[in-house]
Point group: C2
C-alpha cells in the first residue's frame, strides 16, 4: 500500500523487451521507432503504472515545460480572470501553468518566486505584489528566466509589461463624469506605491485639466483596494465642507464599497452621487445600480501575456515589447442622467 518501488523507464524496457533508449524515444514521440515496437512499448507503459519523471528529464534537457504564474490576489475575480485567460493560451500550447498566490505580500512573493525558480520554470508571468522592492526580480533576471509583468508594473524595470491603458481608461471615465455636469470630482482608493494608480490618476487629472477644473476641486483619497477601502474613502469625502459630487474609483471593488457607503448615508449612486469603477468585473453589470466602469478584458490580457512568454522562451530572449490593451467605457446606471444643477455647484 505504501512506499512504491517507483517504476522507471528501465522497467518498461525490460517488460517490452527493448532498451531504455528505445523507450525514451517512444516517450518523446520520435518517428525513428518502428510503429509496432512503439506499440509494444506503449502497451508496457500502460500495463505497468509508469509515471514520467520530469525532474530527471529536465536534468538532462536544456528546457522544462512548466511555466509559473504568480498573482497578487486570487480572491479578486479580476485576477482570477487573468489567470483563466493565461491558462487558455497555455493549454493550446501544451503547457500546464502553475499558479501561486502572494496575497499581496512581498515576502510571500519572494518565497514563491524562489520556489518556482528551483522548480526550473521555463518562464514566469507575474502580477507583482504591492510594495515589491525594486530588486525583487534580480535573481530571476540573473537566472535568465523570461518574465512578463501582467496588469501591474514596477517603477524602474526593464521587464516587459502587459497591461490595460490605464491612462486612457481613467481619462474616459473622468470625461464621462464631467459630461454629466459634475465639477467637483474625487479619486477613490488604491495606494500611492502602485504604478497603476499613478497612471489612472494622471488620466483623471488630464480630463479635469482639459475641462478647466482646478486642483482645488479635485480630491484624492488613498485606501485599500477593496470594498472596505471604498467605504472609507466615501466617508472621508463626505465629511469635508466642499464634498465632491462624483468619484472615479481605483477599481470596481472600491466602487462597490463606495456605493455601499452612500447607502449608509441614505444616498444612492446615480441619483445623489456619481460613481464609476475600473476593471468592469462581471458583477458590475449585475449590481444595483449597475456600475459604470472601464472594461479592460483581463482574460484577453492574460492570453496576451501567455503568448509573450511563450515567444520569449522560444526565441530564448528575456526582452519583449510592452503591450497596452485598449479599454472602453461601459455606461450603466451608477452615474445617472445629465444633471445641470451639478454645474451650479461650481466653486
Amino acid at each position: 500500500m505504501a512506499s512504491r518501488p517507483k517504476t522507471t523507464i528501465l522497467d518498461i524496457a525490460r517488460a517490452a523487451g527493448v532498451s531504455k533508449s528505445t523507450v525514451s524515444l517512444v516517450l518523446q514521440g520520435s518517428g525513428l521507432i518502428r510503429p509496432d515496437t512503439a506499440g509494444k512499448v506503449r502497451k508496457a507503459i500502460e500495463d505497468v503504472g509508469y509515471v514520467y519523471n520530469r525532474g530527471a528529464a529536465n536534468l538532462r534537457k536544456a528546457q522544462s515545460n512548466v511555466i509559473g504564474m504568480v498573482v497578487n490576489d486570487l480572491t479578486n475575480p479580476f485576477y482570477a480572470e487573468l489567470a483563466v485567460g493565461m491558462e487558455r493560451a497555455f493549454q493550446s500550447a501544451g503547457v500546464v501553468p502553475f499558479i501561486a498566490n502572494t496575497a499581496e505580500n512581498p515576502i510571500r512573493q519572494e518565497e514563491v518566486l524562489k520556489s518556482m525558480l528551483e522548480q526550473g520554470v521555463a518562464g514566469l508571468i507575474v502580477s507583482p505584489a504591492r510594495g515589491t522592492r525594486p530588486d525583487a526580480f534580480r535573481r530571476v533576471e540573473t537566472a535568465g528566466v523570461p518574465v512578463v509583468f501582467a496588469m501591474r508594473r514596477l517603477p524602474e524595470s526593464r521587464i516587459p509589461v502587459v497591461a490595460p491603458d490605464n491612462h486612457r481608461g481613467a481619462f474616459l471615465a473622468a470625461r464621462h463624469l464631467i459630461g454629466k455636469g459634475h465639477r467637483r470630482l474625487a479619486f477613490f482608493g488604491g495606494s500611492a506605491d502602485l504604478v497603476v494608480r499613478h497612471e489612472r490618476l494622471e488620466g483623471f487629472r488630464e480630463a479635469c485639466c482639459e475641462a478647466g477644473i482646478g486642483e482645488a476641486d479635485i480630491q484624492v483619497f488613498e485606501s485599500e483596494t477593496n470594498r472596505k477601502g471604498g467605504m472609507a474613502c466615501l466617508d472621508m469625502a463626505l465629511t469635508g465642507d466642499m464634498s465632491p459630487t462624483a468619484a472615479l474609483c481605483f477599481n470596481d471593488a472600491v466602487a462597490f464599497g463606495a456605493m455601499l457607503g452612500l447607502r449608509r448615508h441614505g444616498l444612492e449612486a446615480g441619483r445623489d452621487f456619481a460613481v464609476v469603477g475600473f476593471d468592469d468585473v462581471d458583477e458590475a453589470q449585475h449590481y444595483m445600480p449597475a456600475l459604470t466602469s472601464i472594461a479592460v478584458d483581463p482574460a484577453g490580457l492574460g492570453e496576451r501575456a501567455a503568448h509573450a512568454v511563450l515567444k520569449m522562451i522560444q526565441s530564448r530572449t528575456t526582452r519583449a515589447e510592452d503591450h497596452i490593451g485598449s479599454v472602453s467605457l461601459m455606461v450603466r446606471e451608477s452615474c445617472g442622467p445629465y444633471r445641470p444643477e451639478m454645474e451650479g455647484t461650481f466653486a
Copy 2:
C-alpha cells in the same frame, strides 16, 4: 544575456574552497558544519547567482516538497477562498502549493493531474471537475500519492473528503423557508451528476417531509451553477400554473441569478418570493437585498484539507478520515418576514 552556464553546487564548492558535499550539507542546514565554513559557503552562494535545482535533488531524495492543488473553477470566489485557506496552512509548514485550474473540464483535469504527478508532487488536494469519470484518479492512487478531495466528492471513492455538511445546510435552509410560511418550494440549479447536489437535495427533501409537504409541492430544476443558470431556473419555475413561492438555490451564484430573474419579472426577493443561497460568499451580505445563505467557511475547510494531506504525507499513508465541516444559516433579507398568506396557498 542569454544561455546561462547555470551555476551548480560544484561552482560554489570551488568558490568557497570546500567540497560539494559540504555545500550540500550547508544547503540542508545540517548542524554538522562548522559555523565559519557554513558562513563562507553561504557567502559564495550569494555572490554567484546560484539557484537550487530541486529536480536534481528529488531524483536522489525520496520526497519532494511541492503539493498540488487542483480546483475546478478559480473564477468562483468560493473556490478562490478555498485556495487561500490552503495556502495559509501550507505557508506555515514551509511548502509552496502549486494551483492549477481545470475550468470544470475533466479532460483538462486529467492533463493537470498527469503534469503534477510528473512533477513529483508529494500530495494533492483536488476539487474534482463536474463529470469526472470514476477511474480518473486510478493513476494517482497507484502512484501512492496522498490525495484529499475538497468540497466535492466522487460517487464511489476511497479518497478522503473535506467538505461542508451539505445535508444539514440544505435542511436548515429549507426549514427556514417553511418557517416563513412557504408551502410550495423549489430547488434551483446544479447538475445531477454532482454528489454535492444530491446531498443538498436530500436535506431539502427531509425538511419538506418533516413539515408534511408532499412531492407534488416540490419542484426541482437543474442548471449551470452560475448566475445564468439561476435565471433560467427562475423562468422555468414561474411558467407553471402552480409556481413555488420560495427557492433554495444550489449555491449563491445561482441565487443571485434567480434574484436577477425575479427583478426582470417585476418581482423582488424577500417581498414576492423567498430565496436562499448556499456558500455565503462575501458578496451575499452586500447584495440588494442581502442574501440569506448557508455559511460554510471555505477558507477553514481549505486549511483543514491542507493539514490532512500534510499529515498523510508525514505518516506515508494514503488514507484519512473524512471531515464534515459545520454550517450555519445566515439570515438576511432575501426571504422577508413571516407571511401567513403563503400558508393559504397550500395546495
